[in-house]
Symmetry: C2
């Protein structure tokens, strides 16, 4: 069984990992914001304003849930992994893993 | 005002245009199916089976409507133009214009 110290170190390492990833992605040219959400849309980390990221989290996590359901309805063995939304003003990339949802908003004009 | 002949010719030209586009896209490597839908999910043309394209049309047009609503909720002046869904088995590309929805399903393994 892992000791208290091991667990704490593992959690700390994971947090540093998340922070580093967000900082690295957020510094890329054209990236407007980077947000990490739980699957149900709760904001864990964001480079956007808290207000915007909360709305974004709620709406985009709902869309991802709908898309995941549709993908499985179309083919039962299939599974959603990535969603890319191109709008007139932005490009929103949504990457899924088992527990989290990574949201990257890019401005295509700035690329 | 356009004459009956002009209108008929315009419609015929448009149909040839749609057929040519579908045939061109459908012949590309890795493309599994190409479908043209009305915005409410009615199948106009497809290279898939009628059964599959009907289910696909219903589900994907609903997803596009949801995504379009979310994009406008996030920023009132913004508008959805393209949606790309990456799954374990396929890549589904959804291009929107004012009246139609173009659905291209690709198999990434075959690329």
């Amino acid at each position: 069984m892992a000791s208290f110290t091991d667990d704490t170190a593992a959690i700390a390492a994971q947090q540093i990992d998340i922070d580093e990833t967000i900082s690295r992605l957020g510094s890329k040219k054209g990236v407007e914001s980077v947000t990490v959400l739980t699957k149900d849309g709760r904001v864990i980390r964001t480079t956007a304003t808290p207000e915007h990221s909360e709305v974004q989290g709620k709406l985009l996590s709902r869309l991802v849930r709908d898309a995941a359901e549709i993908v499985e309805e179309l083919e039962s063995q299939d599974e959603l992994s990535f969603l890319r939304i191109r709008t007139k003003r932005h490009e929103i990339m949504l990457a899924l893993d088992h527990n989290y949802l990574l949201v990257i908003v890019q401005s295509p004009q700035k690329e």
